[in-house]
Symmetry: C2
Subunit: 330 residues, 2 copies
């Protein structure tokens, strides 16, 4: 096992009430690490508040404990009031304080506040942090934290942590899939996780709408720079026509990314009135986190993104393309 910093098990052991939070638009690693950790903490006799900014989509309801996620700030306030001084705030899988969402400032008022994360470029916020950008996922880190705490992981928590690892490794395909990642996966499966159950929920749980959305998004495919750049788009209209939300666009960027010659895949999303969100996925030759930072965003070398207001998809595309071409020609 890979050991968390010493302060962390000690701090957890001595605290009775723990508030867990994660980033906005939480994915499988965000929710899986949060719910898995919550289960582990409750098995230690602690009171836990599972905070998310918005109701999670039915897609993630297979995660045990997802029905206990809470969105209310008032509920949080009364939890914290009741806890008095015996409280700890923890953010999981959240790369910076902004990504905690609109209630971030309130969450950070829970003190001490600890950050557990694996995002590169996370400089730490709150009072203490455990950040390891060499880890596949926050879920993997939480498993090691449970080991450091001497806690047995229940089957329910194991499902959550396994889903976290699967999400952030693309089912054991990405770079940070290390021997230790497989070792944790083995232990989680020994605890009762059925890989086909989790994969079925994460990958074989399409709706017809999502399939239709995939078709519409693929029809926007644009090939640039001799195929080294592939661009796809989703509009509000496509979402309306197919009864989908932005959540259903997740993973679609992997389609252009999977073309052998493509070095950078770009996904332009009309996320609101005059708001365009951009996801970037790269292979070895380009650091898209740098590109995203030029546009006020962030992320990892191979997976990054940013958001622009008061603009159109065409405008964003036209400003982004030269930057990407420049990067690729270096």
């Amino acid at each position: 096992m890979m050991t968390p910093p010493e302060f962390l098990p000690a701090l957890i052991r001595k605290t009775g009430n723990i508030v867990l939070a994660t980033h906005v638009s939480p994915d499988g690693d965000a929710l899986g690490s949060l719910l898995g950790f919550a289960d582990i903490l409750e098995s230690m006799g602690k009171r836990v508040f599972r905070y998310v900014e918005q109701e999670v989509t039915p897609f993630y309801r297979f995660l045990p404990g997802s029905d206990r996620l809470r969105t209310g700030m008032e509920e949080l306030d009364s939890f914290v009031r009741l806890a008095g001084d015996d409280v700890l705030g923890v953010s999981l899988d959240c790369g910076d304080r902004q990504r905690l969402g609109q209630n971030g400032p309130n969450l950070l008022r829970v003190r001490p506040f600890v950050v557990i994360d694996h995002h590169k470029g996370n400089n730490g916020f709150g009072d203490f942090s455990w950040i390891d950008s060499q880890r596949s996922s926050t879920g993997e880190m939480i498993f090691d934290l449970a080991t450091a705490l001497g806690q047995t992981v229940s089957k329910e928590a194991a499902i959550c942590l396994y889903a976290a690892i699967v999400t952030d490794t693309g089912s054991f395909k990405y770079e940070l899939t290390r021997p230790h990642t497989f070792d944790v996966a083995r232990q989680l499966v020994e605890l009762g996780v059925r890989p086909e159950f989790v994969a079925g929920h994460l990958y074989d749980n399409f709706t017809f709408g999502r399939l239709q959305l995939m078709q519409k998004v693929l029809s926007t495919l644009e090939i640039e720079d001799d195929g080294r750049i592939a661009i796809i788009r989703v509009t509000r209209k496509m979402l309306d026509q197919t009864g989908c939300t932005l959540v259903d666009t997740e993973n679609l960027i992997n389609l252009p990314r999977s073309v052998a010659v493509v070095q950078v895949a770009v996904f332009l999303k009309e996320t609101g009135e005059d708001i365009v969100s951009v996801s970037l996925r790269a292979k070895d030759t380009c650091d898209v986190a740098e590109v995203a930072r030029e546009f006020g965003g962030g992320g990892h070398r191979k997976a990054a993104g940013f958001r622009q207001s008061l603009t159109t998809m065409d405008e964003v595309r036209n400003r982004l393309l030269p930057v990407l071409k420049r990067k690729l020609s270096c």
Copy 2:
């Protein structure tokens, strides 16, 4: 590790010349287990003949040793002649003797002949066999055989065996992904395999044409029987327009199959002038092998198919649909 039967390491140790073969149209497990095993045997000082019926597609050229695959029966004959009595034939990942292909009878003349496989329903052929239908892949079994032989697995062999496991588990998603599977994967990664390298070759090796084909095929989506049946089609024209062949349609049936409510996915393919091939994929509620047999085809419970001549896709669809609806209403 999970131990192979005792006769096997003994037989291998005492033999100097080994002929390896696998099934026709070899996939990642067939080629990966064959090439990985060949490397292990050569590191033991043995002469190895790597037989496949046809040249493998460029898709699998990333497997170390794939350039040493041989298709010639004459070459095989002279290898066997030179070996005299000191020879062993081994078939890997091949469910029955027919699947060895047209040269199967010649291969089986190499005696003794051993069958190593994980396919359910393999009753064993040749002189000896090691068949374990609870294994994820033949590649996983070969790793355990190397351990039983006390052989270190080279990085090259590790890549082959890892690709074998990834192929047959759908990247650790299928039912037979067990703790031991993850344990073997961990060891292979420790031996130098980079998961993203193998996954990149197996999954991120699309062409733009294939992506365009996917879009066109998805645009034909037809939903029947309240969503329990989903039908997609590919025409000769779509293949021509996208520069694709029927090989590129592989796996596309998994798209409608991945819709949660779908019980049977149907893929109608215009395979020639007036010839329609039909692939069927089912979940738990329907035995599509029975349906395929009614149309002169065959297959497994969850994956079957048939072919019809002198007809159109519409005609086949109209005859098939009532049969499927009847099955699903039982």
